[in-house]
């Protein structure tokens, strides 16, 4: 519909008139409509040549020598800090203290140094300083958002939280009660129950099999002294990764980091957990409960972020179940058959057990059929592979969507931390689209054959099932 000059427009008008006479209005309309070329719209757009200045520098704080990746962005007077202490996540909790990392994450903002919980929160709210902590499986993460006006106070408060958390008894008891309650309520929603059983089934006694919130009996026992020991032993400059983004430069950023992380020990914490050993034998353990739908969560073994197969496998997953409505699984099971509201897959990159995970929910009457189609599509994926066009489509998406991740300053800081965790290099943001561009259809087909296999899909299904033969209801 967009024409480049008047001459062609006149020619098209003439053509349309002739066609109108011959085939009638409807035929003409579809012919005319069929002429839409998206490439022309993109080629001729007036919004060209916009770029994102993705230059990342590595800074080193002057006093403590803390290294961090910095992306300077002065569009708003905001600073976002993201950091993580590696190998201190909930899987690293002592076996008799399951849940302590999560408790620490909840309690670090509950008062520090001379400031009791309420006083500290009031101070931060009035200055719009936002701090949060989270205990992941592998790492313990933190984030801070502040305006540049209050950069100094923000550094001071965060430093106190990391080095002198109060863990006052009343706060400790309250947070305990909240976590114990949350632990019970996990079973209210089927998808939470599914995840918990999935973790147990995949990992058994391995720490990855734990409930992320911990064990009730352990949580009850945790004391302020235990939490202080946790902080002292786990947080160090040696296992620290830092991403910094916003209106801050190498100099002010370096001074800020010195202030935030002052007082942390330099030594790296010695901690390790064994590799996870999962038996991928295609079993689906059944959990019986009645909700609106049945659900499935299953996984195949995959590879880590730095493995040479990462990019082709990432692309293969995108085509199989990662592409939203356009993925093969969605097309077949949702769009064609209407069996589910959503089926999805993703690469889960935990340190000890990278997985390719797939899941969906469907009413009991649709469930078996959807499952059958999942297996069928997986077989087809392996047997027939993907063609050049499908690869090109996936690569186009992955490349063209690249800038979307820079929508928020907090997200940028998080990416900077992840770049260090996975050793992606300072120039990753410039190079990432080249990595995608180099993926060839044959690479993708090779990894499909290597990693995809329905007989490996192991996990859990939940819902209402017909009793098995010989089983009494």
């Amino acid at each position: 519909m967009r024409r480049t000059n008047n001459q062609t427009r006149r020619r098209d008008v003439a053509l349309v008139l002739i066609l109108l006479a011959i085939v009638g209005f409807w035929g003409c309309r579809s012919k005319f409509y069929g002429a839409y070329k998206a490439e022309k719209t993109i080629e001729n757009t007036i919004l060209k040549n916009r770029t994102f200045n993705a230059s990342v520098e590595e800074i080193c704080s002057p006093k403590l020598g803390i290294k961090a990746y910095l992306l300077k962005d002065s569009h708003n007077p905001i600073v976002s800090l993201n950091f993580s202490f590696e190998n201190t996540g909930y899987a690293y909790d002592d076996a008799h203290e399951q849940g302590i990392a999560q408790m620490a994450a909840a309690l670090l903002t509950e008062g520090a140094g001379k400031y009791k919980a309420q006083e500290l929160k009031e101070k931060m709210e009035e200055r719009a300083i936002r701090v949060g902590f989270a205990a992941g499986k592998d790492d313990f993460g933190g984030s801070l958002l502040t305006t540049t006006d209050h950069l100094q106070e923000a550094a001071q408060y965060l430093n106190l939280m990391l080095t002198e958390p109060r863990f006052d008894e009343a706060d400790l008891q309250r947070v305990k009660a909240q976590i114990l309650d949350a632990l019970k309520r996990q079973h209210e929603r089927p998808e939470r129950e599914l995840e918990l059983v999935f973790a147990r089934e995949m990992y058994g006694a391995h720490p990855y099999g734990r409930n992320p919130l911990g064990q009730a009996a352990d949580i009850e026992r945790v004391s302020a002294a235990d939490l202080r020991r946790f902080v002292k032993n786990k947080f160090s400059r040696g296992n620290l990764l830092v991403g910094l983004a916003g209106d801050v430069d190498a100099q002010s950023g370096g001074a800020f980091l010195d202030k935030v992380f002052a007082g942390l020990p330099a030594d790296k914490v010695q901690a390790s957990i064994p590799p996870a050993e999962t038996e991928f034998d295609g079993r689906l353990v059944q959990i019986r409960r009645g909700d609106g739908q049945n659900m499935l969560l299953a996984a195949m073994p995959a590879i880590g972020r730095t493995h040479k197969d990462f990019y082709p496998l990432f692309t293969a997953n995108y085509i199989w179940g990662g592409a939203g409505l356009n993925s093969r699984l969605s097309q077949r099971i949702r769009e064609q058959e209407g069996l589910t509201y959503g089926i999805y897959s993703y690469l889960s990159l935990s340190d000890k057990s990278p997985l390719l995970i797939v899941g969906f929910a469907a009413t009991a009457d649709n469930f078996e059929k959807a499952k059958k189609l999942l297996y069928e599509e997986t077989d087809k994926f392996v047997d027939e592979g993907i063609d050049a066009e499908e690869t090109a489509q996936a690569k186009n998406y992955l490349t063209a969507s690249y800038h979307l991740r820079f929508a928020s300053i907090e997200n940028i800081a998080e990416i900077l931390t992840a770049m260090q965790k996975y050793n992606l290099g300072l120039d990753f943001l410039q190079k990432r689209n080249d990595y995608i561009a180099h993926i060839k259809p044959e690479d993708v087909n090779r990894v499909i054959k290597k990693y995809f296999n329905k007989q490996l899909l192991t996990g859990v299904e939940l819902g209402e099932f017909q009793p098995a033969a010989g089983e009494r209801k």
Binding site: A38, K121, R130, D291
Partner: protein, 447 residues
């Protein structure tokens, strides 16, 4: 009737507003066909969020055809006469767009986050499906099944989803908010293609929509492109977008006491029918201040008194939502602590409301307003958030001046206004009290 007062106040404030910095410094214009366009500049990354807000949602459905608005939202991804079948999705995918939509009581919203170089494609496609939608019988049947599955996933898999539906039915009575946005199971099963086409033809017109472009685009370009892609769409005649639904009568009080087998611990919720940008607008900012003071975050009065001091609750929060074409809501939710019954907790909540209403003086007002206004600059960070906030407020009837003047409007709130608004709500607003309990009352938390 109160509109005049607000307008008068705005006129007085206006000279000051122009000089002051707005919340987003957005710009607004209207195309000849009536499409309202709002552009919000944010040049950090070369991306733009396009959101098209239709002023039509479940509120506007024919009685008995619940779920029409939502099913139409789904079918909008299933092809037009020009862009058939799945082409819409594949074109956007090839071009790296994140594309989605949602349906609410008063609006149906389509949105894409795209690299700025692909914005024109997204605009072309969005404009195309405003007029050329082509609903095939097979697609219709498949998509009706999909929205049925969606309802199961969102409501039936989530016990508190069912609880809130029951509360809304009890509270809103004859008002459209009583009906779930998704439609009920039976309604979804009986929807016809005609229901969807009627809804589409009636409401999907430029003079019933708001286009928001937020990101790496200036207002002049936004206007040029809006004109180019949406300018040729023809407006429909005067539509009757209703907002005059009657609320339950003053002093109406309902109770929902529900037990569900999945539930592991009690919770209580109180919802009041509240002012909005359309109704009793003079109380909107006062109630924002009241909600923040009473129950937003862990320094709020409810949290301090019920969680920290009296230890009768594990959590408590208040939320005021004035974004509605008719009435807003003011809600309080809480989870009782061990040893406290839901009834005791509800009584405590009422007690705190009453005490704090009397304690709320000028000093308290200034303090909470300072907190509410700290960090407003964060609003300028993420173009997606900005598009959502501006779109939702505009769709609820707030003018751009009003949206921009948030800071001034909050500052202008007087402690006496807050006490009055809070008192009016508590004493006279229609309200529902809900208790959700485990099926077997053997749990120790209920003792």
């Amino acid at each position: 009737m109160n509109k005049k007062i607000v307008l008068g106040a705005l006129c007085v404030l206006l000279p000051r507003l122009v000089a002051a910095e707005g919340l987003f410094d957005a710009q607004e214009f209207r195309l000849d066909n009536g499409l309202r366009v709002i552009a919000i500049e944010n040049h950090r990354a070369p991306i733009v969020k396009q959101m098209l807000w239709y002023q039509a949602g479940s509120t506007d459905e024919r009685i008995g055809a619940g779920g029409s608005a939502h099913l139409l939202e789904h079918l909008m991804f299933r092809g037009t006469k020009l862009i058939p079948g799945q082409t819409f999705n594949t074109l956007l995918e090839k071009n790296g767009a994140e594309s989605n939509a949602f349906t609410a009581y008063d609006n149906t919203v389509y949105h894409q986050l795209v690299d700025v170089g692909r914005l024109e494609l997204a605009m072309f496609l969005e404009a195309d499906r405003m007029k050329n939608l082509d609903i095939g019988e097979t697609d219709f049947a498949a998509e009706r099944d999909i929205v049925f599955q969606e309802r199961k996933e969102r409501v039936d898999n989530n016990p508190s989803g069912r609880f809130f539906e029951a509360m809304n039915r009890a509270l809103w009575q004859e008002h459209p908010h009583a009906r779930p946005v998704s439609g009920t199971d039976e309604e979804i099963k009986h929807l016809t293609r005609q229901d969807i086409e009627d809804f589409y033809k009636r409401f999907y017109v430029p003079n019933n929509a708001i286009l928001v472009l937020s990101g790496d685009i200036d207002a002049v370009t936004a206007k040029e492109l809006a004109q180019k892609y949406y300018g040729n769409l023809r407006p429909a005649g005067k539509k009757s977008i209703r907002s005059d639904f009657s609320a339950p009568p003053e002093d109406f009080k309902a109770t929902v006491d529900m037990k569900m087998p999945q539930i592991r611990g009690n919770r209580v919720v109180k919802i009041f029918v509240a002012p909005s940008y359309q109704k009793q607008t003079e109380d909107v900012y006062s109630l924002m201040v009241w909600a923040a003071y009473l129950g937003e975050g862990e320094t709020s009065k409810l949290y301090k008194k019920l969680v920290l001091q009296d230890k009768v609750a594990l959590n408590v929060s208040a939320e005021f939502n004035p974004l509605s074409r008719s009435y807003g809501t003011f809600a309080i939710s809480a989870m009782p602590a061990k040893g406290t019954t839901p009834e005791q907790l509800l009584a405590k909540i009422d007690q705190v409301w009453n005490e704090e209403m009397q304690n709320f003086d000028q000093k308290a007002a200034e303090k909470i307003k300072r907190k509410m206004l700290a960090g407003l600059v964060y609003m300028r960070d993420n173009p997606e958030d900005a598009a959502y906030i501006v779109g939702a407020m505009a769709a609820a009837g707030a003018s751009l001046d009003e949206i921009e003047a948030y800071e001034q409007n909050i500052k202008a709130v007087k402690d006496a206004d807050v006490r009055k608004a809070a008192q009016k709500l508590r004493a006279h607003a229609p309200q529902v009290t809900g208790i959700l309990r485990p099926e077997e009352n053997t749990d120790e938390t209920n003792k």
